[in-house]
């Protein structure tokens, strides 16, 4: 599965379009990480626990999107965009969407 965020797959020709595919995941962090982040809030700087958590969830959202594209019969997803929103206290939604296509 080829994933790109440009309007085409560089160096390849698109033969078929399948429309929008999307994947999303809502994640909350567990208590231990939350407490560590609270402590880290005091001195500032990077919150490594959150960074890892969000990267994992983003990967999952992308996997779901790719799965959907595969079911439609595509072998690439182009023009991918990401969005993040906080839906509830302590939970974040990660969302990825793009266009499923088939390339040569």
């Amino acid at each position: 599965m080829i994933l790109t965020n440009v309007g085409s797959v560089p160096g390849k020709k698109i033969v078929e379009h399948f429309g929008i595919v999307q994947g999303s995941t809502v994640r909350a962090k567990h208590l231990g990480r939350d407490m560590m982040a609270g402590l880290k809030n005091l001195v500032g700087g990077e919150l490594k626990g959150y960074t890892e958590l969000l990267q994992e969830s983003r990967q999952e959202a992308m996997d779901r999107m790719a799965e959907q594209a595969r079911q439609l019969g595509g072998n690439a997803v182009i023009n991918i965009r990401f969005a993040t929103s906080s839906v509830a206290q302590g939970a974040a939604e990660l969302f990825a969407y793009g266009t499923a296509v088939r390339v040569e």
């Binding site: 080829i2 994933l3 790109t4 965020n5 440009v6 309007g7 085409s8 797959v9 560089p10 160096g11 390849k12 939350d34 982040a37 609270g38 880290k40 809030n41 005091l42 001195v43 500032g44 700087g45 990077e46 919150l47 959150y50 960074t51 969000l54 990267q55 983003r58 992308m62 991918i80 965009r81 990401f82 969005a83 993040t84 929103s85 906080s86 509830a88 206290q89 302590g90 974040a92």
Partner: protein, 159 residues
């Protein structure tokens, strides 16, 4: 001295938090900037553009998505400064440097991923910022900030 701490426990706790926040925050920021500048110089040869590239046929071997992200938050002292700033308005320098650091770190992580996978350039870079964490839904408060950088890494067919 001890008597004062004993008499005003709240005030002394507050002052202690401010001192810890200020000293740790300042040291961490200086160290971080030093490492950012060093790594940026190492990675300067890997081109990043935020336009969609046009490539000649047969010039590209593969392409794939790369991303990098950072979650940061401010220290206790700077948060207080920002609240004070809210009264008078104007530039909130404390947050400017924080977000600048986070964004550059995110771009660097993306570039590092691209380099380890053997890419020659990154096209169509996009940057995104969002607020997450406990205070994300409250008004007038900034919780943790996530910055995300993503783009398409391109591996060229070099003769």
């Amino acid at each position: 001295m001890l008597e004062i701490i004993y008499r005003y426990p709240d005030l002394s706790l507050f002052l202690a938090l401010m001192v810890i926040g200020y000293s740790c925050g300042t040291i961490a920021e200086k160290r971080h900037y030093k490492s950012i500048i060093k790594r940026e110089q190492e990675l300067v040869k890997l081109m990043v553009v935020n336009a969609e590239g046009r490539f000649a046929e047969g010039a590209v071997r593969t392409s794939f998505l790369v991303n990098g992200s950072t979650v940061v938050s401010n220290d206790y002292f700077k948060r207080l400064l920002a609240i004070l700033r809210n009264i008078f308005g104007g530039r909130v320098k404390a947050y400017e440097s924080l977000i600048d650091r986070a964004r550059r770190e995110a771009i660097l992580r993306m570039k590092e991923e691209a380099r380890t996978r053997g890419a020659h350039m990154i096209v169509n870079l996009r940057l995104e910022t969002s607020t997450i964490g406990r205070s994300a839904n409250k008004k007038n408060s900034i919780g943790s900030i996530e910055t995300l950088a993503y783009g398409t890494a391109v591996v060229m067919n070099r003769p």
